[in-house]
Symmetry: C2
Subunit: 474 residues, 2 copies
């Protein structure tokens, strides 16, 4: 706790790691590329799970669980899929003391194992749609890892749905992307750009991939969630057909979609400051923390009052009372600031006398004295205000760092300072790859809400029908 | 659905598998030894998680997540532990296309990886206790597998706590066993015997293991949860010491404890009947299912009334309305019976006229007409009654099949019919192993509440101070 957090201006990357470690969100493990998610980090993941799980269930999805292991032969059934994932898989070759006949891949994603089951479960249109989600761990071998952002093992949810028609599946993929958008914006207070990935950037095995993209404080992009229309690709690979109402036998249409513990990295890099983490109230496992300030002579009075306040707040909010004896208030302030609790409730002897508390905003550090009679409504209002204000601040940052650029030289210059660039692109993978090679910028997505506008590709000058978003990305 | 469930009297083992498959709780996967937990089964697991997670948090525990992979060298640090677990591990030898320098074991349990982290986190008595739980998948290679009961991969929770003293750790291990007991009895309606495992049956690496043991309908025992006092074993293996209040440096004391998806198997075999599953109301994802019975002329009237009943019940209960057009009521009855929904709510045109519904108990099939004005209280009362009655029935079964036996010949005869046997045992592993070899019965545990009673070991005739519980077990 006494350690210093590197200021963002000095080294953004070190700042990030300092916050993760000092807020005790995660820690390095002795297993290369794998992290430990500590209780503070896991509690945020539990909040993310609660909110998303509810939204999935409200839209008719159910949870299930499929095996961790995938036979090698299954991975190979969808050509693009194996090409994309096999090189980054962990492979089990021995089990129960013996060498296996067929190696087992630790799932990097579960399309293949799940579609091998859908083959058993789908006969008729009556069996459709299947709307299954899974909360699970997955493994993708990584050479260069960063806590939460890129680790060999991570936690995620993966939805895998089966539909009678392309139209229905497409609708599902879009519905989920909208759930991801509203979750990111309304809960995580993180503005995102929704759109379609390019051919080159889409999921290995998908027909179309949609994504939400957020700008981090260093102006790099972070892909925060993806939703795929998989067409008949996996149905064909695993021979999953159904008899339709019209008596005809057809291939099933698929979607898959996921968000992961990476979201916690996004949260840190969207809202954190040089004092540590800032958690938006709607996703905060602890929304308020009460820190009593006493001396020996005022101890009983302050603690009794604090407990009363605690019991009151607990009725409606997620609240903690930090009545630890062995630490001074100043130490506690710092600790809870690092951990990003949205509101600190200070209670000293004079506050007890005045029948009030002092609310301290984590984001602005503003201090607001509030009488006990108005505490509940003021706390609620303030949490709302913080939630909105975090979103507005992040949106403003993104707007101020997003530029329409039509000249490749300027593109390179602006990119150097960090930015989202809205530029024209001809639609060819060749230009996309050249730009990536020369600038490290990728097309984040083709925004759904882009204006129709004719222009010239920023790279080759060929005609374009609209702008796409370029950025360097995590 | 049209398939027949093998009656229990014909073949208990086939009955079990039939129920699992036809209630769509789980399915065989193409990966040897691994199962798919289907939505109906996973929903039960989610209920189990909800209840236990709440109990863990109320007693001060927090959740975290540790890596799936454990370096081979870590497994080897605790001698008994590696001997017990290494032979049943799945081993990753390749990652990212290359052979690994050190093989990684897929966790069969996480003591070693977790204690390697506790080494980093524990310095002083101020860092204790650590009360961490993890919800995770684990892998133990199995040759002969059975859905839910014994599979290569399964889901579980594993608690891992660190304490300053043996006394505290012992108290924790017992506290958790009591949580398991009350969960099994009060939620799953499954009576259990709490007690201590013998030296031979304890967890590999534990000083003492406690368990809850239940009797299944075929009179075999099922170990439904275990809690271990691990002493300083893992602290010594990973060199985890702390500076105590008195200034001295001491080893940390540990516990670990877990229950798994095996509980779903226990639930099926405690309550199911020849019609399928019976889920105790307090753990049922769906407590009531409304089945409207209409003909074309009464369709609107019955459906409107049913929706009203649905909205009313939904205020307080987990309820489903089965208004599917393509299936007849009789088909629906069977389907929901197989799935074990505690109460079916039948609504026909005459019920609408009488402003009533008919509640049908899944366990006794009793039909109870209830006026709409008394529906909420009657439904609640009936759910309570079913919950209690399931527990009583299971307890009666156990009592009727538990025998005090002092003669080894009689022991063998009684065991043949299936039973729990309360017999004297001298305390020597040798006798325990001989009995196991000759009868396949193991000592389930040494019950906490056994009477003090001197006697002679059922096998060797040496003095004994009390009875232990013998049974054949899953």
């Amino acid at each position: 706790m006494a350690e210093r957090i590197t200021p963002r201006s000095e080294d953004y990357s070190r700042w990030y790691t300092d916050v993760v470690l000092q807020a005790r969100l995660a820690d390095y493990s002795p297993v290369k590329g794998c992290m430990v998610i500590r209780p503070n980090g896991y509690a945020i993941w539990e909040k993310i799970q609660q909110v998303l799980d509810k939204k999935f269930k409200e839209t008719g999805h159910v949870n299930a669980y499929f095996p961790l292991f995938i036979p090698e032969s299954f991975m190979k059934k969808e050509a693009e899929h194996v090409e994309g994932f096999a090189p980054e898989c962990a492979v089990v070759t021995h089990g129960g003391g013996e060498e296996l006949e067929e190696p087992l891949y630790v799932r990097p994603t579960s399309e293949t194992i799940i579609w091998s089951m859908y083959k058993k479960w789908i006969m008729s249109y009556r069996d459709l749609p299947i709307l299954i989600n899974q909360w699970a761990n997955v493994v993708r071998w990584e050479m260069r890892t960063r806590l939460f952002l890129r680790t060999t093992e991570f936690l995620w949810q993966e939805g895998h749905t089966a539909h009678a028609t392309e139209e229905e599946a497409e609708e599902e993929a879009r519905r989920i992307l909208e759930i991801y958008r509203s979750f990111a914006e309304d809960y995580m207070a993180m503005p995102v750009i929704t759109g379609q990935k390019t051919e080159n950037e889409k999921f290995a095995g998908a027909v179309r991939t949609y994504s939400i993209e957020a700008m981090m404080q260093d102006k790099k992009a972070l892909q925060a969630g993806t939703s795929h229309y998989l067409g008949e690709n996996f149905a064909r690979a695993f021979d999953v057909k159904f008899q339709d109402k019209d008596g005809q036998v057809k291939y099933v249409h698929a979607t898959s979609w996921g968000v992961s513990t990476r979201l916690i990295g996004a949260l840190i890099m969207t809202h954190g400051d040089d004092q540590g983490l800032i958690i938006p109230p709607r996703i905060a496992p602890t929304q308020l923390v009460i820190v009593p300030i006493w001396q020996e002579s005022t101890r009983t009075k302050v603690l009794e009052f604090s407990e009363r306040v605690y019991r009151q707040l607990k009725e409606k909010f997620d609240v903690k009372l930090d009545d630890r004896d062995q630490y001074k208030p100043g130490y506690k302030f710092t600790e809870w600031e690092i951990q990003g609790i949205p509101i600190r409730v200070e209670i000293g002897p004079r506050d007890v006398d005045a029948n009030q508390v002092v609310l301290v905003r984590r984001d602005t550090r503003e201090k607001i004295p509030v009488g006990l009679d108005r505490l509940m409504e003021e706390a609620e209002k303030l949490l709302d205000t913080i939630q909105k204000s975090l979103f507005e601040r992040a949106l403003k940052m993104r707007k101020e760092n997003t530029f329409r650029v039509d000249d490749y030289r300027e593109f390179q210059d602006v990119l150097e300072k960090g930015a989202f660039l809205e530029s024209h692109w001809c639609g060819n993978t060749e230009c996309e790859l050249k730009i990536k090679e020369e600038t490290k910028a990728t097309i984040r997505n083709i925004p759904f809400d882009r204006e129709e506008e004719t222009g010239k590709c920023i790279y080759c000058g060929q005609p374009s029908t609209g702008r796409v978003v370029f950025a360097r990305a995590y």
